[in-house]
């Protein structure tokens, strides 16, 4: 006797018509029953609420990538400054000088200038990083505002629908009341109670 394979049993567990083999084979029936128990149990725990993050946009992704670029630029500037890299631009062209601490100049005055330059570079790097951070914060706020605006729009639409519904119901009731009044007046008139 050839038993059903795993794929066939899975197909049956997911709604395919049962094979005639199952009528005569206790082993395959048992395997299928275990699959049904497993499937039922797994489905029981499926309906937990799933958290959904903020909407993913191209802009948010670009900003995310810039975050790393900002850090990299800041680190590069600090390393370049500390290692004595000097970039200068003159009428003759562009030049880069490299010297380790004190390697190019030994005078205190030159060292002071270098330290000042390094400090300036670090400040620039921090400013750059702060700008990137600010852009990220702005982006997050924009996303929150956009989400809020969308929710407000939805709320406003629902309120408008509700108001229209109430308005319609009022119209129906007023028309009904008016008909009742007309009927009453007509009845009273027929009874001679009204002119």
């Amino acid at each position: 006797m050839k038993h059903l394979d795993e794929a066939q049993l899975i197909d049956i567990a997911f709604g395919a018509p049962p094979d005639a083999h199952l009528d005569t084979c206790d082993s395959c029936r048992e395997r299928l029953a275990t699959l049904h128990v497993g499937l039922h149990a797994v489905k029981q725990v499926k309906r937990d609420p799933v958290p959904l993050g903020p909407p993913v946009t191209a802009r948010a992704i670009r900003m995310r990538r810039w975050r790393f670029a900002g850090w990299a630029a800041a680190a590069a500037l600090v390393i370049a400054s500390l290692s004595g890299l000097q970039v200068s631009l003159s009428a003759e062209g562009f030049s880069v000088k490299f010297a380790t601490w004190g390697g190019e100049s030994s005078s205190d005055e030159a060292l002071q200038i270098r330290l000042q330059e390094t400090e300036n570079q670090i400040v620039k790097a921090l400013e750059l990083h702060a700008q990137v951070l600010q852009m990220q914060v702005d982006d997050r706020f924009n996303a929150i505002y956009a989400e809020n605006a969308q929710q407000l729009k939805e709320l406003s639409r629902q309120m408008e629908n509700n108001l229209q519904s109430v308005d319609y119901q009022n119209g129906v009731m007023i028309a009904s009341l008016r008909d009742d009044m007309h009927s009453f007046i007509e009845a009273e008139r027929l009874k001679g109670k009204l002119p």
Binding site: I10, T34, G38, A41, V42, V45, L52, T57, A58
Partner: protein, 193 residues
Amino acid sequence: MESMADLELVARAQRGESPAFDALMLRYQTRVSNMVYRYVEDRDVASDLVQDIFVKIYTHLKRFKGESSFSTWLFRIAANDCIDHIRRQKTRKETSLELISEYGFDPADPRDESVDERLIEAADHQMVRLAIRQLDADQKMVLVMKVYEEMTFEDIAAALALPLSTVKSRLYKALEHVGRQVRRRQLIERIGT
């Protein structure tokens, strides 16, 4: 944008049109988030993974040539990321913390009077979750895609680049494992009473 087909939106996004990319993400964010969360069972990790997946999609979108459907391509990236994450995860959380996280309350807290009733129901779910967690990464991915995301076998096979028979075999092993655990528990309870 909303009514455009995936491939048209992809073509526009590949040309650098951000609104087209945003529309694609809006279309798939819920499904991808659901799948990732069901798979990793941790909100923070799921959130980080979803962000990583969309960054990858954004980065690699130019390489998408339309050889499969966009959703298949996207779910392949998502599935690979999830499986990689589970395989990388070597350390496990402390069991007690895990229990609190799973039950949503501390079963050992004597101040909670309704704990018994909640515990019975929660324990059943907890047992099933643990059984699912014991599955290997590949079996679990097929289970999540089929049972929780209700994808067809053909779509799962395409997304995971596997033969149909392998997908069904993995699902069989996954459901068989969970089914056996449940039956074992039922048997123990019956003997206990």
